[in-house]
């Protein structure tokens, strides 16, 4: 059967050049960068070259990049590390209500440790209001953490404006840019970002490796104790193949970004247009313009997301949903609820996230099968016109 992958926001395949490089660093260049012999020295150099490449992708300096085991670790580190190092200055953190769980659950953890957290609301397009950020600031505020782009609905936040406010007030600004890095131009200096989270597996790099950008001078504690790796800030034998792969993925992303944005955006527009024309009673979730180039998210009224997904899967199409049933929790997506969707409508959401390998034919195929599936499920539904 034809297999169509429309779930790039969940994870991406590893670029074939990246994979080849990783293979080389597993079997030939397998040394430990802490070793002083030739096996160690050759990989130490490669790790530093990868650091340069990751830094270049976001306009940072190499010394400001610290490799982690992924986005979740970097998010945990940013929040807990800033909290621990700046507790004397204050105990208040500002974030948004639509962050990834790696941020939200870490905030809940910090609340138990005595920190106080403001969860900013969002509008119906999932955007944070810059005025709300200003109003939330107190003399206790030590950190603002707002994601660059949302993983479910793709909405891009007013990062530049928030960065400006944070800078003026002397408050650290962290952004979880896991969904944006490699797919959208980012410059940490232009945006006044102090800390930034990225993860390899969201832009054709390997799983199990990510990075935290920490602006020089930011006060933060180390995350894991042990050896002196990552300039004593993150102990543990470096995941050399992963790091080298991340570097390569960053290099490729920077090189091809414009071309890929154009490609993915064309497909996205075609898909949105097709769905809108072919299927009644739907709602586009997320901001109509300020959204990630590859993100398509619709709610199909009277229909539940998991059954939609399973039907698409039977046709070979891989997608994702904000329905509770896909996550094993009771409530549907906190993002969709924060945007003001009712439970029913949130349950009927479908995310199709496009990537560089997708084609027009795949969009056509999806536009062929999706209307039938929605119609069939609606004919079974006790809700709505049904």
């Amino acid at each position: 059967m034809k297999r169509v992958y429309f779930d790039h926001s969940a994870t991406t395949p590893v670029d074939s050049e990246v994979a080849k490089l990783i293979l080389e660093y597993m079997t030939d260049k397998f040394g430990n960068p802490s070793s002083i012999h030739s096996f160690g020295r050759e990989v130490r150099k490669s790790v530093e070259e990868a650091r340069d490449k990751v830094a270049a992708l976001i306009g940072a300096q190499a010394k400001e990049i610290f490799f982690t085991s992924g986005g979740t670790e970097a998010d945990n580190w940013a929040l807990k590390g800033i909290a621990a190092a700046n507790r004397k200055k204050g105990n208040h953190i500002i974030t948004s209500s639509i962050e990834h769980h790696a941020i939200l659950h870490t905030c809940e953890y910090l609340e138990k440790q005595g920190f106080s957290v403001t969860y900013l609301p969002v509008d119906e397009n999932a955007r944070v209001n810059v005025e709300d950020v200003k109003k939330a600031i107190t003399d206790q505020t030590i950190l603002i953490s707002v994601m660059f782009a949302n993983n479910e609905v793709g909405t891009i936040q007013p990062i530049k404006e928030i960065g400006k406010i944070a800078k003026e007030k002397g408050i650290y600004f962290h952004t979880d840019a896991v969904q944006a890095v490699g797919h959208y131009p980012i410059d940490v200096n232009e945006y006044n970002i102090d800390l930034l989270t990225l993860a390899g597996h969201k832009f054709y790099g390997p799983k199990g490796v990510g990075a935290l950008y920490i602006r020089r001078g930011v006060k933060i504690t180390s995350f894991q104790q042990g050896g002196a790796q990552e300039r004593t800030m993150r102990a543990g034998t470096e995941n050399v193949p992963g790091i080298v792969g991340l570097g390569k993925a960053a290099e490729i992303a920077k090189l091809n970004m414009e071309k890929e944005i154009a490609h993915v955006r064309t497909l996205k527009n075609k898909l949105i247009k097709g769905i809108t024309e072919k299927i009644p009673d739907i709602k586009l979730n997320g901001h109509p313009e300020l959204r990630m180039p590859g993100n398509v998210n619709f709610s199909f009224l009277y229909v539940e997301g998991e059954s939609l997904l399973l039907n698409l899967d039977l046709k070979g199409i891989a997608a994702s949903s904000g329905s509770a049933c896909t996550s094993g929790s009771l409530d549907p997506s906190h993002v969709l609820l924060s945007m003001g969707l009712t439970h029913e409508v949130a349950h009927g959401s479908l995310r199709l996230s496009l990537g560089r390998g997708n084609t027009e034919e795949e969009i056509d195929y999806c536009l062929e099968v999706l209307p039938e599936i929605v119609a069939r499920l609606r004919s079974m539904s006790p809700l709505g016109a049904g």
Binding site: V303, E306, P332, H343
Partner: protein, 123 residues
Amino acid sequence: MYTDKVMDHFTNPRNVGEIKNASGIGEVGNAKCGDIMRIYLDVEDDIIKDVKFKTFGCGAAIATSSMVTELVKGKTLDEALKISNEAVAEALDGLPPAKMHCSNLAADALHEAIKDYMQKKGK
């Protein structure tokens, strides 16, 4: 994730639809968790002559709805009342643990429909 039987009932659900002038209608579930099931009964001489369902929900919700209609068609009301949610899950060769409580409500909907029938008949 789902057994072959679940997938069979999910992809080819039996007895989907409504019954006009049904003898009894039962509805359970809530939108919060994402499951709403409605069962329609056509009862004659305490025997379920026909049964149909409409369901908003995940794969498990649709499959259990379909299965329960198969289990009760032609049965007496007493027999139908003895069917439990667990029995429905078992008839489908089991459900993932996370789905056992959330979407395994089809027997409840059936029982509600029978209750509705009884009330209408003034029993």
